[in-house]
Every structure is written in structure tokens, then in C-alpha cells.
């Protein structure tokens, strides 16, 4: 569950209007390589049919995707030359302004739930409708830390895992050292905390200890939009495919998430990742084993 959007993305080299985007779209496609996915979100009546077909090609269950009168959420952003800094040009909430997720009966028993980046109030609303999920991950962004902190803090008491990036971790904990920040984040509730560091990988803290996960080194980053969503989607999809103990599979799940995210960065929006096969992901995971082995 998360945002389903149209993204217009400018980079120093290209301009791409109205790509399929949103945290739920990226996460759902990433997870679909590993396990069946049920998407929850909302689009407007302007939502292109080809994007519905794209979801369907990835066998994503769309019964939880509402089609509302009005415009699909539209985000426009621009990346600087080094692809690390981005600037939001436009945010048109469209049908998201009045969105209230309603989970179909069939969705309420799902064992693995991703509350992808979206307003914490909506994340709460979805969680309220679930029976007894086995493992719940929440993602977020700096915006909610600034304008919906109370809601977010309440959410953190209700989830198993929390994923956020380096600067968000520092902002939320007021702590520069990430090892110390992890401790503080655990105290907010989640037993599992993942701090994403982009090209530097991720720090994963869980009951069995700390894991330093690498990022796959890319020669060319075309568009990092959605990389974090792909990462967490791939991570949860892999966990769901393995079942059993989360602790036993979490490290490899993070590596699969990292591999999927690396493909995401190699094309605009979902253009690259939707051409990837499971065996391409497996190959990149094997390469990552070789890259960190000593």
C-alpha cells in the first residue's frame, strides 16, 4: 500500500513526462519477482490503460486499486548532475486529496504488509483494517517527519520494521552517528530498522545484530526515483517467498532488495526494472556475494 502516481522526471540529459511512479508502484513491481502482490492505492480516471496492463503483466492483484473521478497524483522533479540532489517542481495530489483506502476482504489476511511511503494517517488506516499480519514494514519520507510527526511516531509503535534514509534518520533522532541513531530508532518501537545510504548500501539492525549491506556498484545511474521503494518492495517480496523465520532470511532479503533497486536506477521510472527477469536478479545477487567476500 502506498502512492500510485504519474512522475515527470527531468535529469541533466533527458525529460520524461508522466511515467508510472509512486511508492506502491515501484514496491509492487519489485516484490512481484518473488511473491504474489496485492496493490492498494488510488488513481484518477486519466490513468493510462497501458499502466494497468503493466501491473497486470506483473500479476499484481488490482482489486485494492481504486479508480476515482479526477486526476492521478502527479509529481514532477528535477535531478542535479550528480543524481544525488533532487528538487520537486510540482506536486498535484489529485485523487489522493480525498483518498481513504478500503481493503477488500481478500486483502485483510495478507501475512506480509508494506506500508510504503505515504501520509502516516493512511498507513494507520490500512493497518487498522488488517487482521493479524505476520510482518509489517513502514517506509516514510522527510515530509512526514516535518508535517505529521505525531502520526508517524504512533505508527512506529505498531510496525515490526521501519525503513528510512540516512538524512531522515538524522533528522528524526537528532543524532549524527548512525550506529547511535539506530538505537534511538529501536526505542521508538520497531524491532527491525533499516537505514538506506543510497550508493553506500544500507545499515540493518535487527534482534540478531547489525548487518552492513552493500549497494550494487553501478557505472551509470539514469534515474534513482523509486530506488528506495524498489529496495523495500524486493526485500519484503523475498521474505514472503521464503516464509518461516524473518531473522533467518532478512540479510539475503536486503541483498535481493538492493539488487532490484540497482536495476531500478538503470532506467527512467520503471522502464528498466520491467524488462528484468528473475535470473538477472539472481546473477546480480551472486555478483554482490563476490564483491563483499573476504
Amino acid at each position: 500500500m502506498g502512492s500510485t502516481a504519474l512522475d515527470s522526471i527531468k535529469t541533466p540529459n533527458a525529460e520524461n513526462p508522466r511515467l508510472l511512479g509512486g511508492s506502491a508502484s515501484h514496491a509492487a513491481i519489485a516484490a512481484s519477482f518473488f511473491a504474489p502482490v496485492k496493490l492498494v492505492g488510488v488513481v484518477g480516471d486519466d490513468f493510462p490503460k497501458r499502466y494497468v496492463q503493466l501491473y497486470r503483466r506483473h500479476k499484481i492483484d488490482l482489486r485494492g486499486l481504486q479508480i476515482a473521478r479526477g486526476k492521478t497524483f502527479h509529481w514532477a522533479g528535477e535531478y542535479e548532475i550528480n543524481m544525488n540532489n533532487r528538487r520537486t517542481l510540482t506536486t498535484d495530489l489529485g485523487v489522493f486529496e480525498t483518498f481513504s483506502p478500503r481493503l477488500p476482504q481478500s486483502h485483510q489476511d495478507v501475512p506480509y504488509l508494506l506500508l510504503a511511503n505515504i501520509a502516516p494517517a493512511l498507513q494507520h488506516h490500512v493497518l487498522d483494517q488488517m487482521r493479524r499480519p505476520k510482518f509489517v514494514i513502514a517506509d516514510t519520507m522527510d515530509l512526514w517527519l516535518n508535517i505529521a510527526l505525531a502520526d508517524l511516531l504512533k505508527l512506529l509503535r505498531r510496525v515490526d520494521a521501519f525503513v528510512l534514509n540516512e538524512s531522515e534518520a538524522r533528522l528524526l533522532t537528532k543524532e549524527d552517528n548512525l550506529v547511535v541513531a539506530l538505537k534511538k530508532l529501536h526505542r521508538l518501537g520497531p524491532r527491525y530498522v533499516v537505514i538506506k545510504k543510497g550508493e553506500h548500501g544500507a545499515l540493518v539492525s535487527c534482534p540478531t545484530g547489525l548487518f552492513l549491506a552493500p549497494a550494487f556498484p553501478l557505472r551509470k545511474v539514469v534515474d534513482p526515483t523509486g530506488a528506495g521503494d524498489s529496495f523495500v518492495g524486493g526485500l519484503l517480496g523475498y521474505l514472503a517467498s521464503q516464509g518461516g523465520s524473518v531473522d533467518a532470511h532478512l540479510r539475503r532479503a536486503v541483498i535481493y532488495g538492493s539488487a532490484v533497486a540497482s536495476f531500478c536506477c538503470e532506467g527512467f521510472g520503471l522502464t528498466r526494472i520491467t524488462r528484468v527477469r528473475r535470473q538477472d536478479i539472481e546473477q546480480r545477487v551472486r555478483l554482490m556475494e563476490g564483491l563483499v567476500h573476504f
Copy 2:
């Protein structure tokens, strides 16, 4: 071979005047945990005896350390709150102004040579006096990229390995992507290139491929001065202790370098690292194995 200095280091929490410092001091102490070390450098007649004793306690051969009339090289710097940005307050070259390294006979056959950070002209001068070193590493800093680039580029054609940090790699190659920067750095000569990324570890590129080395996650960084010198000193010391093929031992050597550098950061100057025992380093290396395993 490199600089031997007195460092006055200010951080937000403390002030430490005239600590033993310099690239050669840090690298020599780090290497001394693994192999016998011969130090080449220069100090003034104001150089405290206790620092000579400190070198001796680490069994460092001081026949290549000149004691010249005048003042020891003195550097004063200040770190900002997050310990990542530092500002130079003073640089008094002292006896380094007229330093010309002369290698004793006993030093000219050494198989493993570290040209630690110092003016590239002095690095050349030492290399000129060596017979046939088996493996030569050069380190550098941004200053030489700006004021002695031609000398540095000539040096890169003469060494096996080149170590530099992330921002220096970008400055030298004019390339933001570090994977691409590595290729460009190889084209300048060295078969081995190590890009240091501080708390994010290191990228190591060698004939057998790429290695993503972790940094040991520290809860508290007291003083990062000399961490890069410790890293490369530990790395070369470990390689020297293993002998045989560099490729067979390089990855573990980088991990040992990283472990030693982590201790360096936990105290001002050399205060922490000089209280460490070999078994402490071994323990941290084992912890690092656990931190990256998946």
C-alpha cells in the same frame, strides 16, 4: 616514508596540543602490529623524547628518521561537530622545508614500500633510492592534486597501488561516479586502486576484480586525524606479514587496515591505537566478517 609531525587538534569537545602525528607516524604504528617497520622522515630538535620512545615501543627502526636543526613540522586543525569537515588553522613546515630523504643502505632492499602522504617530489626521491621493491603503495591528499599534479601523475606511473579518498578521486578524474573514476585511475598507471569513503568503507579495484570493503561501525568518533594513514599502514603491514601473492591477501589486508583505522578514530592522535593489542584487531576483523556475511 611520509610526514612526521606534531598535530594540534581541536574538536567541539576538546583541544589537544602537539600530539604525535603525520602520515608516516600513523602508518608506521598501524603497520607495526603486523610486520617490522622502517620509518623514513624528519623531525626537528624540539621533537619530544617521549615520541621517540613511543616509536621504539612499537619496534620501529628509526635509522631513516633524520633529526634536523629547527622545528618539527606542526599542523593545527579544527573539526566541526559531525567530525567530517575539518579546517586547517596552521601549517608550519619547519624542518620539512629543506628535507631531502636519504635512505640508509639497510632500507634500500625493503620489499614493501609505503609512500605515505607527502609532497610527490619527496615520494619520487625515495623511490629513486630503492632497488627493486616488490609492492609500492602511494597515498596523497587534495593539496598535491592542486599544486603538484604533474609530479603526482608521474609518480602514478611508477607505483603498484594508489590510495586516495572519494573527493580526491572525483577531483582527479573529473568523474562523479566512482566505478567509472576507478577505471580512469587505472589508466593513470596503478594496477591497484583504493578509494577511501570514510565511514562508508572503501572501494578496492585490482586485477582480480572489485571489492567493497566495509568500515567498522563506531558509536563514537573522537578524532579521525590519521585514519586514512592508519588504514594504508595496516593494509601494507598485513600484506608484508603474509608475503606471497598480493592478490591472494589484498582483501583481508584491506579489512585489517580498516580495523586498525577504526581504533585510530577512537582516540586523539595515536593515544588509542598505541594501547591496542594484536588480539583486539583480530577480534574486530572477526566482527567485520559477521557484519557483512549474508
